[in-house]
């Protein structure tokens, strides 16, 4: 029987910014096509871990491979193209409409723009196509961020506190969409203050404290 493919392999990963350790020696292996939830208090290192996995901060010491890219010797720009990021802040240009934001992303990636209408419909924003992003509600902005990711179809989805500001309907929609993404074979890594409310997705929950993994349960 073959072992599952790993999307993340970290060994004693340390991230220092201005001498301050954001991650203090994380050892972690995550399998492809799974949902993983990273929890912990403020300052525990959740966002820093996601940024490391996205090639957005450099590995200071230790070793790591994400989506086949070595974090020490590989091309971090190449890694970034393989991941999709949804932050808890806005993830697009406020003065551009929903459609214009997605058009920019599609053209940057060399993707056809005729998929835009489909993804806006998928996230329930087909009636807000020409609305500037700054006029969307917090929940609609989160849905636009998801549309950006659906258009990109990344191998790994990095979602930083995606449930913040979402109502019950939004959370349910989000859970359904994450389920679809995992079934399509992509990996999802979510940061959240608390474990997921829904257990239907059977996530693996990793708890951080002080930049270290203190608990890991499936």
């Amino acid at each position: 029987m073959s072992s599952p493919t790993l999307v993340v392999e970290l060994s004693d990963a340390v991230v220092l910014v201005d001498g301050f350790p954001l991650l203090s020696g994380v050892t972690l292996e995550l399998e492809t096509g799974t949902l993983n939830v990273v929890t912990g208090a403020n300052g525990a290192g959740k966002t820093s871990l996601l940024r490391l996995l996205g090639g957005l901060v450099a590995l200071s010491s230790g070793s790591g491979v994400v989506s086949g890219v070595d974090l020490r010797t590989g091309d971090r720009r190449d890694l970034r193209r393989r991941v999709g990021w949804l932050g808890h802040e806005g993830s697009f240009y406020d003065d551009l409409s929903a459609k214009e934001n997605l058009t920019f992303a599609a053209k940057a990636l060399g993707r056809p723009t005729d998929e835009i209408a489909r993804v806006l419909d998928r996230v329930g924003l087909s009636s807000r196509t020409d609305t500037p992003a700054k006029r969307l509600s917090a929940g609609q902005r989160r849905r636009l961020g998801l549309a950006w990711l659906l258009l990109r179809r990344p191998e790994t989805w990095l979602l930083d506190e995606p449930y913040a500001t979402l109502d019950d309907e939004g959370r349910t929609f989000f859970d359904e969409l994450i389920g679809d993404v995992i079934r399509s074979g992509a990996s999802v890594i979510v940061s959240a203050h608390d474990p997921l409310r829904s257990n239907a997705l059977s996530p693996r929950t990793i708890t951080l404290a002080g930049g270290l993994v203190v608990s890991d349960r499936s």
Partner: protein
């Protein structure tokens, strides 16, 4: 690289057109600065065409600093920057696109301020028209250098006060060349040496930007 440059320039110009910051804030600021500079000189000197070139480039320096900061700020919150970073855009193309958009905005402002210099400071119309090509090249060089120094000073997330200090050594030779070129155009002097200096500066800043913008973004 060119495809990315056109994509980024188009996006920046679309955002400016939508926000109308250039129309309702920067252009009125440029004209007001020109009027105030004329008032500071007094009526005896403001109408003297020899003061026009210096005042024009002084105003364009202030406008350029405003627009560089604006060019970086429209990249949005750190969340937007992170999302865009994961698109894996070629940094040389991003630099060229942002410099092109900034140059277009400075050209529009420059033409308006130049017209203001003719109307308000009585700078000679023919000489100002002859100076226009060199003005456009100098403003393009300011846009290229400004885009580079905008990223160096924190990309809109660092202190805005750092930009004038950092960029002054790069801007000063361009402003001197621009002022001399405009003065020579007004007084019938030869323009070619200023053209040459301006073009060399433009090419140099474009080259440096293409090579270093990615490093500045990463840092």
């Amino acid at each position: 690289m060119i495809r990315t440059a056109l994509l980024v320039a188009g996006k920046d110009l679309r955002i400016e057109r939508r926000s109308r910051v250039l129309l309702w804030q920067v252009l009125p600021f440029g004209v007001m600065a020109l009027v105030l500079s004329g008032l500071a000189l007094g009526p005896a000197h403001a109408g003297n065409s020899s003061a026009g070139p210096g005042l024009f480039y002084l105003v364009m320096l202030l406008v350029t600093l405003l627009m560089i900061n604006r060019s970086q700020v429209i990249e949005g919150s750190s969340g937007t920057r992170t999302s865009v970073a994961t698109l894996g855009l070629d940094p040389a193309g991003v630099f060229l696109g942002k410099a092109l958009a900034l140059a277009v905005e400075l050209w529009i402002t420059g033409v308006v301020v130049l017209a203001g210099a003719v109307l308000l400071l009585h700078t000679a119309l023919v000489g100002s028209a002859e100076a226009l090509p060199s003005v456009l090249v100098i403003l393009a060089a300011l846009a290229a250098a400004g885009t580079l120094y905008g990223a160096l000073s924190g990309g809109g997330q660092g202190p805005a006060t750092l930009l004038p200090v950092l960029s002054f050594p790069a801007f000063a030779p361009l402003l001197i060349a621009g002022e001399r070129s405009y003065s020579d155009a007004l007084h019938g002097g030869s323009l070619w040496q200023w053209w040459l200096i301006s073009l060399v500066a433009l090419v140099a800043y474009l080259g440096i930007g293409i090579l270093l913008y990615g490093v500045l973004e990463e840092s």
